[in-house]
Every structure is written in C-alpha cells, then in structure tokens.
C-alpha cells in the first residue's frame, strides 16, 4: 500500500509538472497509438480474448475500460489506470522483454494531461481483432502510385530530364544546387563500374574523352548496358535480394547445391536480355505454372521459366541434412516468405508470423494468407528434401538416346563376355596340351568341378599345375593380343557413355497436382497449435488496390494457380509497392543510397523517401515503359545529377552531409566482388568465361577459404589441384558456400543471408588493409600487373603511366609521374638489397613495379567509385 501511495504522489507531481510545461500537442494517431499498438494491442484488442476485458484500440473503449474500471480519465494522468500500470511496470507482463521506454510512457502521460484529444471520429463499431486505421491506410507506401506533375525549379536549364526537376526542386528548398559536371574520365569510370563492375580499359577512356559527338555519353551507356558484364553486375545485386547460395546451410556439413547455378545464370541472362521486370517476377514466383507444369519434355522457353522458380529455393534448407523435421520444414517456408516479401514488396511481412505486426498494419492472419499462396508448393506436411525435388533437364529425346545407348552398351558387354570366355577356353586348352598326356584328362576334370566341391586330390592336382588356372584377371599374362582385343569392347562402351549428354538438374519449385493443403493461422507462430484455416489472399491493407483475384484452386490448371495470380497481382501495375521497391533498388545501386534508404523495409520503421514524388514518377515511368529496367538506368544515368562531380563543398556539407539530396555525387566503396574483379581486370588475369558450375572453395593450409578443389587426405590438405585459370573468373561465379566465405571477399563485406540481403553494409576495417598489404592474392596479382606492364615496355616512365591509366582510368600528372618513378627506382634499390640479404631469387626490377602496382590497387582512388 505504501508503494502505491508513493506511486500516486509521483504521478501527480509528474502530471502537474507536465501540464505546466506542456507545449506542443501530442497526437493520438501519430504518437500515442503506435506505442499502444507496439506494446498493448496484442492482448487488449487484437486477440480473440480481451485481456482484463479491456480494449485499448479506441479512446472511447479506454474510457469505458475493463474489469478494473476505466483505463483513462481525461486530463488526469494520475487517476488513469493506464498510466499507473505502465509506470509501475505491471504492464506489459513481466515476461515480455520489449518494454515501453520512459519516453513513450511520458508521451502517453502528456497526451492524457492535454485532454486525451483525438482527431476525427472514431468508428462506431470495431471488430475484435485486427483493425486498420484510416491513417495507416494512408501511409505513403500503401497509397497507389500516382504520376506527379513536374515541379518548376529556379534553374530549369540544369535539368537534363525529369529526374533533375524533382531533385532540383528539393535542393531549391534548402538553397542548394548541383555541383559542376564530372570530368569525362570520371564519367566513363563511374558508368563502367556501375554497370559492369569493371573499370574501363584505357582505349575506351581515350576514345570517350576525345569523342566530340554530343551523343557520345548516351552511346557509352547503351554500349555498357549491352555488354554481357552488365548482367553479371546487376544479376549479383538481384542475387543479394534473393538470398542466393550454392549450399544449404543449417547443418555443419553445409551441403552443396550443385545445380543452384542454373538460377544464377538465369538471373544474369534475364538482365542481359532486358527481360521486362513483370515477366522476371512472374517467372520467379510461378514459372512452373507458366510453363504448364509438365517437366518430362521441356523446350528451352519452358526450361527458362522453370529455372526462374529457383528464386523460391534459395533460403537455407536443412531438410535434407538432418533438419527434415517439422520445425526445419517450417523454417524453410517462413524464411522463403521473408525473402519474397522483403525483396519484392519491401515489407517485413515475416514480423507478423507470431503475432500481428508490431508496427505495420499487417495482421497475423494476413501473414498466413500470404503463406497459403505458397503452401501448395511448399507443403510442410508432405515435404521433399532438396535432393529429392530436383527436376531433370533430360528431354524425351535425351531419354530415348540414353536408353538406346544403354542397350548398345549391354549388347557390347554380352559380346565381350562371350569373347572373353572363348579366349579363356582357348588358352586353357593350350595350357592343358602342354601337360603330360596322362594327367591332361584328370586336370581337365578337376577344373570342371566347382571349386568348393573339388576333392583334396583334385585341389592338389590344380596346385601342381598352376598354369591351367586361367581367369579374366590373368588372361593378359597368357595372351596379350586377346586381352587387348577385349579392351576395345570396354573402350567402345566408355566412348558411348561419354557421347551421352550428362543428365543435369534444376533446383526448382513445383506444385503437385494433389488437393491443396489447408493453411492455418499458427498460434504464436507455433505449427503445433493451428487455429483457424485461412484462404490465400493479399495483405488487408493493400486489398482492393490491385484487382487480381487469388483463386483457392484454379480448376483449369493442374496447380492451384495461387502463385501465378499473386505474381500477376504484384505486376499488375496497380500494386503500390512492387514498382517503387524496384526503382528504389536500381537508384540505390547508382547513388549508394536509395530514395528510401531501407530498400527492404517500406513500412513504418523503414526510412521515408527523401523525394516521394520522384519515387512515384520513376515507379510510374517504370511500369509505363513495360517494366524496362534498362530504361530506368538510362534515365538515371543521363540525369544531370548522376553526371555531377563528387567533390564536396561547405554549403552542402552543412545542410546535407550524407548527400541524400544529391547536391554532389556520393562516393561509394566498391563491393567485395567489384574490388576483386577490378584487381583481376587490371592485372590482366581476369577470365571472362560466363555461366556454368560454381568455382569451388576450399581451405588452404592456414585455414583460409580460397578458390580450389578440395583434396583432403585424412582431413589434411593434399596436393593442390591446378584450377586452370578458373581461379581468375569473376567473383559472381565463385561458389557461395554459406560456411566458407572467400577470404579475399569477406573483409569487404559480403551479403549476410538472413535469409536474404536487401542492403549491404560498407565497412572500413583494418582487415581490409591487411589483406591489401599482405595477402597472397593481392601480392600475386600486383606481380601479374607488373609482368603485364613489362611486356609493354621496359621503360619505367611508360610503365607507371600505363599502370595509372589501367588502375585509375586517367592520365598521370607530371608531378605524380615524377613521384612514381622515384618510388619505383628507390624500391628497386631497396629490393635488390633485401634479396641479397635474404638470398632470394626474385627479380627486383619486376618486383619494384609490382610494389608500385600494389600501392595503386590498395589506394582509395582504386577502391571507390567517385
């Protein structure tokens, strides 16, 4: 009791103090309701049963209160039970880990103290359960995309296209403007690294710099968009969002996915072909439904469509390696839903798996409606492990060829066996003939008896005449030509087998024609506690925006048609998020940050667009252009904004340090793959072979994960197997083994697959510096770089000039050149001395240039896109 008095006193004091000082007003909708939603609605309004008979979702329900009386008394926080319970920590219950903060409680106290004012009129009735307010429906990302009119700006001559008008309008507000145009060298380097992930070669730079054609820049962009390296670069961005991996994860064994690469190649090809995004999404969500669901004899188009569904098979999946139980299966389903919803719709729908979303208007039931779309193909009650769900790429013709080849092989085998026996018999007879005549018949008889049934006498006889034991294994000792002849049969069999097309498989999604399973809401996300069944459907807050119906079971198809309808709904052009999320993703890879800086979360906790109208304009333009991704690249890259210099100025720094308003081009560190690929490109070692099986990763002797074929001997590394140039392929093709991040890539931030990655971090850590200074990879590539230069010229001045062009895409200045020559000369002297002292056999002339090359590829100018 004493405690309670103390509490009451405290609250009174606090409340009066608040009233005295209350300045600006607290909004229920904006400030108070989100707090209550995050911490209270779960038990007080949104569940079937009302905790303590109290519903906190509307003010009038708070006033009428619950079992303990009114929760709220206007203007009297000290008399309001709501405040007492929150302040004392009685509520939320003690086992709830996430607690309202002191600041949040204060907001509620403030609101009550100010008279508990609400805006508008509360609904007359409210269903038990989930309730979406008008305010929530009006949240920016849930509203239909609307093509805004173009703003007027103070300097319209700065605008190259509409994008600039939106950006300039915002800059006008803060009295900033664009920076000057970047140099031609900078532009071509920026565009090349952006679109291909590789620096331009010096000839291309020179050509572009000297090209006076006004369309030169547009032509450059078209040329880069048309190069196969474009798909490799942008395919990799998409693979982050899809959570691509070449292994299953979950178990320690981290089983490999030998066929995942078909999906990787599909993505690369789709970007290169300029596949419309709507088609790309549809194939990935429902390629199996699009191609008719018949896998026995697919044509190229059907294979492509089915390969797209590899997207839905990318999350970690332990169900074939020890986690085949219900929990493991459900984990795959829920991770897939997380991946799909964050990558395509930018919503953290996964947060509504166990309870209604704490922040976004997404109910738990909504979550299971989305789950129902996928459950016919991902039925946890009738589950196939990854190794049992591969789809063979054999066509009927392939199968027939294989069958006839197998038959041929069998025939040859029969012939061979027959022939072998003939040779054995002939040799046997020859050997018998060599024996004394009187024993010939008895030895012959002894051999005719099966080995086990021979008498002691017969055994002794055979032992006495061992040369009569002729077997397939020793025939060659008696009759070399015969055994050589037999080998030709085996040879023919091997040749036939080799002629056969190897059977390859797709890691794909398919849906059995069986009756679809019933999807249930799981109480607290627990699959052991199913509640009500749900039908497939779109999120409630978005329902009615796009008019595609999701069927329960489309009779005209062998599948339910749920995923296909969902894909059509997403790509109908009416869905408010799909186009916005994709243009934002494209934007973020050009400028480093999206218009929304949380590309995977367009919800309440995500970032707000810096330029909402521009985002809508782009999204609309994207759909209008036929979901043409390359069109968006062109628009962005031909804007004045993109062509600015990245040099900062004080005025801009003061207002917008992060350059979110694009008063200057942001400087971005290259991603790990681009760092490695660019090093290989300048060293001249890059192998541009596209597509195909993943280049394997193994542990070297120090335990680092390096490229190589594992060759273990009693658990220890055996001899190194020559990779024949495969080790110099682009990073995209290096196996993404979850447990084996490539040592060269890891320090420069790899996507964290949890289960997918919608935004990569960009760190600056000492392990990056150590790698560039000391790793075998970098020092070896620096040497290759030097060898490349020495083949061009033996003259240091030429070497440093060419190196500069290769590494930085620009001409070296005289001052820098002098410093470079001085460095190489000094280094040569230092190394000569060092090699003498340490008795090393290396060549100080080449190596001094190699050290210079290493400095270039370790420098900021090389690692950053300016």
């Amino acid at each position: 009791m004493k405690n309670f008095c103390l509490l009451a006193c405290f609250v009174t004091f606090l409340a009066s103090a608040v009233q005295l000082s209350a300045a600006g007003s607290v909004s229920f909708e904006k400030d108070v309701r989100p707090i209550l939603k995050a911490h209270c609605f779960h038990c007080h309004g949104e569940e079937e049963e009302l905790g303590g008979g109290l519903d906190l979702r509307l003010k009038r329900l708070m006033l009428s209160g619950g079992d303990s009386g009114p929760a709220l008394i206007e203007s009297q926080p000290d008399q309001s039970l709501l405040v007492e319970y929150l302040t004392s920590g009685l509520m939320p219950p003690e086992d709830v880990a996430v607690r309202p903060s002191q600041q949040e409680i204060t907001t509620i106290i403030n609101w009550i103290a100010n008279g508990a004012v609400i805006e508008g009129v509360e609904p007359a009735t409210i269903d038990r359960g989930f309730y979406i307010t008008e305010k929530e429906r009006q949240f920016w990302s849930f509203k239909p995309v609307f093509r805004p009119s173009l703003p007027t700006v103070s300097n319209p001559q700065l605008a190259a296209n509409s994008i600039d008008l939106f950006l300039l309008a915002r800059l006008d507000e803060v009295e900033l403007s664009y920076s000057s145009q970047a140099s031609r060298e900078t532009l071509i380097r920026r565009a090349s690294l952006d679109l291909t992930g590789l620096p331009p070669d010096p000839q291309a730079v020179q050509h572009f710099v000297n090209n006076t054609d006004p369309a030169a820049y547009e032509n450059l962009i078209d040329q880069l968009l048309g190069s196969p390296q474009y798909g490799e670069r942008w395919g990799r961005h998409w693979l982050d969002a899809a959570g691509y991996a070449d292994s299953e994860g979950q178990a320690d064994a981290d089983v490999e996915r030998p066929w995942a690469y078909f999906y990787r190649d599909y993505v690369v090809k789709s970007f290169n072909q300029g596949k419309p995004y709507d088609q790309f999404v549809q194939e990935q969500l429902a390629g199996d439904e699009l191609m008719g669901g018949q896998f026995a004899d697919m044509n190229a188009e059907q294979v492509e469509q089915l390969t797209g569904t590899g997207y839905l098979r990318m999350v970690a999946d332990g169900t074939g390696s020890g986690a085949g139980h219900d929990e493991g299966r459900n984990a795959v389903v829920s991770d897939t839903l997380k991946m799909v919803t964050t990558s395509l719709t930018g919503l953290t729908v996964g947060c509504a798996q166990c309870h209604n979303h704490r922040y976004d208007p997404i109910s738990q039931k909504d979550y299971y409606r989305i789950r129902a779309i996928f459950e016919p193909a991902m039925n946890w009650k009738s589950w196939k492990a990854p190794q049992n769900r591969q789809v063979s790429l054999y066509t009927n013709t392939d199968r027939e060829t294989k069958a006839s080849t197998e038959a041929q092989i069998k025939e040859i085998e029969a012939e061979r066996v027959k022939k072998q026996q003939e040779y054995i018999d002939a040799t046997f007879n020859k050997e018998i003939a060599k024996l004394p005549e009187d024993v010939q018949q008895s030895v012959r008889d002894a051999h005719a008896v099966a080995e086990k049934e021979r008498s002691e006498e017969q055994k002794a006889l055979i032992k006495k005449y061992p040369s009569t034991v002729v077997t397939p294994g020793n025939l060659y000792l008696f009759d070399r030509p015969a055994s050589d002849d037999l080998k030709t049969f085996t040879q023919r069999q091997t040749e036939l087998r080799e002629e056969l097309k190897p059977e390859e498989f797709l890691r794909a999604l398919s849906e059995p024609a069986a009756e679809p399973p019933v999807t249930y809401v799981f109480s607290r996300g627990n699959f052991d506690s199913p509640l009500d069944p749900v039908e497939p459907g779109e999120l409630s807050v978005l329902s009615g925006l796009a008019t595609v119906e999701i069927p329960t079971n489309e009779e005209s198809r062998s599948t339910t048609g749920r995923r296909l309808a969902f894909a059509e709904l997403l790509t109908s052009g009416e869905h408010p998020l799909v186009a916005r999320v994709m243009v934002n993703r494209i934007w973020s890879h050009h400028f480093g940050t999206g218009i929304v800086d949380t590309p995977g979360d367009f919800g309440f906790l995500g970032g707000r667009p810096t330029h909402p109208e521009l985002l809508d304009w782009l999204a609309h333009e994207f759909v209008q252009s036929g979901w043409n991704i390359k069109h968006i690249h062109r628009l962005i890259m031909t804007s004045t904004a993109y062509q600015q210099t990245s040099t900062r100025n004080d005025q801009g720094n003061e207002v917008d340090r992060q350059k979110r308003l694009l008063w200057s081009m942001p400087v971005r560190r290259m991603e790990s793959e681009a760092v490695r690929d660019s090093i290989l490109a300048v060293s001249g070692m890059l192998d541009q072979q596209m597509a195909g099986k993943a280049v394997p990763v193994m542990a070297d002797r120090t335990g680092q994960w390096v490229i190589g074929k594992e060759n273990l001997n009693a658990g220890r590394p055996g001899p190194v197997i020559d990779m024949q140039g495969q080790e110099y392929r682009r990073s995209l093709y290096v196996q993404v083994r979850r447990s084996r991040p490539l040592a060269v890539l890891e320090p420069f931030d790899l996507p964290e697959l949890a289960p997918n990655c919608t935004k990569r971090p960009s760190s600056t850590v000492s392990t990056q510096s150590l790698e560039l200074l000391n790793s075998d990879f970098v020092t070896a590539q620096a040497r290759f770089f030097a060898v490349r230069l020495s083949k061009l010229s033996q003259d240091i001045e030429t070497q440093v000039s060419v190196a500069w062009r290769l590494a930085f895409s620009k001409e070296i200045t005289d001052e820098k050149k002098a410093a470079a020559i001085e460095f190489v000369t000094q280094m040569q002297a230092l190394l000569t001395k060092q090699y003498e002292e340490k008795q090393l056999n290396d060549d100080p002339v080449i190596d001094s240039v190699a050290v210079f090359c290493q400095a270039l590829i370790s420098s900021n100018q090389f690692l950053y896109i300016e």
Binding site: F10, A23, D597, K659, R669, T764, L770, K838, Q854, A855
Partner: protein
C-alpha cells in the same frame, strides 16, 4: 521475480532522476515528437579510438572466460546439505527439463567433496582446487538466472542482453561506448577454441546492427592467429615501410581531391592501424618473452591445459596492451553434461581450472586486476536431479537457467564475497537473484557507462544493450 521489488526499485530510480525526466519532457520530447527519428547513419563516422574515459569508471578492460554449455554449479560451486541428505530420493518440487525422454526426478548429490577456501571461507569442490586458491579475489554469484532454458537463447541473454539473435554483443557495446585504449590493436578480440565454434557461432562476437568496426576480431586458435598479419618476406622491413608511405601519399592526395570524405580518412587510419598491428599483434601473441614460471602458472607446460592456458595468457597480454574486451571461448557444448558427467566434468575442469585461476593471480600481481574485470561463466547451470539414470557411467544433469553460478573478479567487484543463493537443492535462485539485465547494468556501471545513454539508432529506434528500463546496479557486488 517479485513485483513489489520491481516496483520499489523502479520508483527509487525514477524518483532520483525526476529532475532529469522533467527536463527531458520540457525540451527533448517536444522536439522529438516534431521530428521523427532519423534512422540514417550514412555519413556518420565511427572509429575505435579511445573515447573520453568516464570519471566514475572503476574498470577499464574485461576478459570473459566463456564457458559454453552450462557448468554444473551443483558439483562445483554451490554445496547443499539437503542434497547430500536426500541423495537418491525423489525431488519434491517442479522441474523444467530440456530432455524429457531421459528425465528423472531422482536427486543426485555431488560426488565431489567441497571445502572452504581462503580467508573468506568460500566453499568450492575438489574439481576446481585452483579457483579455490583465488577465493579471496573473486565474487562468486550463486543466484544467476536467465529463465530461458535453451543454449542459444540463454547465451544471447548473457552475451547480448536479449534472447533474439544478431543483437550486438557486450564486447561490441563496450567498444562502441569506450573505444580501445590502444591504436595498435583491435579493441575487441574473440579467442576461439580449436574445436567447434560454440552454439550461435559467429553470433557470439557479432556487432549486430552496430557498425562492423565493433565486431570482435577473431584470433584463430592456431598459427597464424591473425590472417595476413605478416608481410611477404620480400617486403619485410624497409620495402614495406616505403610502400606504406607512398600509399599514404596517394591516399592523402585523394583526400585533398575529395576533402571531407570520412571514408578516405578512415582508410588512411586503417592502414596505419594495420601497419602497427603487424608488429603489435605479432608481439602481443609472442609468448617467448614470458618466464617459465608464468608459463607454468597457466599450465602451458602440460597437454591438458596448454591450449586454454595459452589463450588466457594471450588475453592478459592483450589487455596489458590496451585491448578493451577479450572473450576466451570453450568449444561447442564443452560443459553440456547431459550424460557421463562423472567422467566428462572432471576432464572439463582439468582443462580450465588452472589457467582461469592463473589469469586472476597474474593480473593481480601485475597490478592489472584493479582495472580489469575477469568473468568466468556460461549461459546456464545444471539440475540437482539425474538425467539418463541408466548406470553411473551414463548419468548426467539437464539444463538449468533458473539458478546457476558464475564468478567475477577485479575492476571494482568485491573480493572474497558470495552473492545470492539458490534454494535448498541448488535448483532455483531465490536470494538476491541476478538476471542478465542487472548483471549487464552492473558491468556498465563499473565501466562508468549509463546503459540508457549508450544507444544506437537503428530503423528509427534507439536500441540499447539492456532493452528494459527496469534493470539495476547490484550494489552488493561492488567493492
């Protein structure tokens, strides 16, 4: 937990900070309400240089000896007469088992003898004689509680403040708040075991949503302990020095071309750190300068203690050189003795008892213990009843996160003190319960940090190590 206690504590602390609270309402809140919090971090710069040391700080560094799996407090630290009396009888209360299939309610008294140690008379069992020898320097907490009965969740509770995965861990928070005390070594190091990584793998030293410079730097259990740490032999010495000076020239000129580019500056710093690390880290991990006596103190001369002793000694050397936080890990489920406890528990103790005690002794004689917290413990303890009652070779003990023991020493913790108690069976903590929130709050207090003030804005929320405002400092633990 008792609700009245909760409320009383809350009021006590709320009352004390009332002025601050009101000030916040007046100024901050109104402003915050007007502008929604910005989750943006781009453009901010983070580094590991030493932050101004809080005036109230008692501790400057911490070594956590992380005993993953659940060391049996019943057999090592928490003697109970009642268990001895009722060995083999049926346990009278409720028990939460992890493994129901092998569960039994038969009480198992510890088969090892306890005796009092030091002037304080702290009782510990014969399994850990060396820890007994440092009894007067440590605080033995017998009332630990996380209440989540699985390894993963309880590890996260103890190590990162919440049961959810991928929350920044204690070491990340400490370095975020304080930086390192040296510019030659990473401020936070994870010394992993040669065996399998503990449950949760790299999550144990993950920075979560904090910038990645606050991630623990893994020191590999075998040579080379840090990759790429040594220059190629061709470049050792003056060639590399020249390379670095030229590289920094290039980088400086890039910074001049792009003034104000924080990343360019940071990379210049990182090259300097990397260069210093080449000598500093090699030197810090080189034990050849340690005396034979010291090596023997840590048990480096004996096979069973060689690995753990070496890592404890490296930990001391790191702290000596200004590293802020070092965590030394045992291997996966090292203490998870569901079965064969009679054999495996003594083996586990033999591996860590001597090196752990040696670390405290060594720090103390070097005058480092005063400013260095040493923590010894894991995510749980074990039950007073038998698991797998199928013969003495097989018996074990199941999980218990409702009452377990750990010890802490130095850095402002009391010596020779036993804190809290479990019930008569050593099962649940009942007296002076220490949950992970209070433990972390107390650690922060010793480092002079306010857990409320040390936050990081992530997705528009202020995230903290302790995500409840009801944690408290356990003053009884303080010297």
């Amino acid at each position: 937990m008792n609700k009245n206690t909760n409320r009383r504590d809350l009021l006590a602390s709320a009352g004390m900070s009332l002025a601050g609270l009101l000030a916040a309402i007046n100024l901050k809140d109104q402003r915050l309400l007007a502008n929604p919090a910005k989750p943006d971090l781009i453009g901010k710069s983070f580094n590991n240089s030493e932050k101004p040391s809080p005036k109230t700080a008692k501790a400057k560094a911490m070594i956590s000896l992380w005993m993953q799996g659940g060391p049996s407090q019943i057999d090592m630290f928490d003697p109970k007469e009642e268990l001895m009396k009722r060995d083999g009888e049926t346990f009278p209360g409720d028990i939460k088992y992890d493994n129901a299939a092998q569960a039994s309610s038969k009480i198992m008294a510890p088969p090892w003898k306890f005796r009092a140690h030091g002037e304080c008379g702290m009782e510990m069992s014969e399994l850990v004689p060396n820890m007994g020898s440092i009894a007067d320097d440590i605080t033995l907490i017998r009332s630990m509680h996380t209440g989540v009965n699985n390894h993963g969740q309880s590890i996260r509770a103890m190590n990162s403040g919440t049961t959810a995965a991928m929350h920044p861990v204690l070491g990340s928070w400490l370095t975020y708040g304080l930086g390192g005390q040296t510019s030659s070594l990473p401020p936070y190091m994870a010394l992993i075991d040669p065996g399998q990584l503990p449950v949760d793998g790299v999550g144990n030293w993950h920075n979560g949503y904090l910038p990645s410079i606050y991630q623990g730097t893994v020191i590999r259990p075998t040579e080379p302990r840090i990759l790429n740490l040594t220059p190629p032999i061709r470049l050792e010495g003056s060639p590399q020095k020249r390379l670095l000076s030229y590289l920094q020239e290039l980088n400086q000129s890039d910074l001049q071309r792009k003034p104000g580019e924080f990343d360019y500056q940071a990379r210049i710093d990182m090259y300097e750190l990397a260069a210093r690390m080449q000598t500093a880290a090699v030197e810090a991990m080189d034990l050849s300068g340690e005396t034979q006596e010291t090596k023997m103190l840590y048990g480096i001369d004996r096979p069973e203690t060689k690995d753990f002793g070496t890592r404890c000694l490296i930990a001391r050397r790191m702290i000596e050189r200004g590293v802020r936080f070092v965590q030394v890990f045992t291997q996966n489920q090292f203490w998870d003795h569901h079965g064969s406890i009679l054999k495996s528990l003594p083996n586990a103790c033999k591996k860590v008892d001597q090196p752990s005690a040696a670390l405290v002794t060594d720090l103390k004689r070097r005058g480092l213990l005063e400013e260095t917290i040493v923590h010894w413990g894991g995510e749980m303890g074990r039950l007073p009843v038998i698991q797998n009652d199928t013969g003495s070779q097989n018996v074990g003990r199941d999980h218990n996160t409702y009452g377990f023991s750990q010890w802490v020493a130095g850095g402002g913790f009391k010596g020779g003190y036993i804190h809290g108690a479990t019930d008569e069976f050593g099962h649940k903590a009942v007296e002076d319960i220490v949950n992970h929130y209070d433990y972390h709050h107390t650690l922060f207090h010793l480092f002079g940090l306010d857990p409320e003030a040390l936050y990081f804005e992530h997705n528009g929320q202020k995230r903290k190590l302790i995500e409840t405002d009801q944690s408290k400092i356990i003053t009884k633990l303080l010297a």
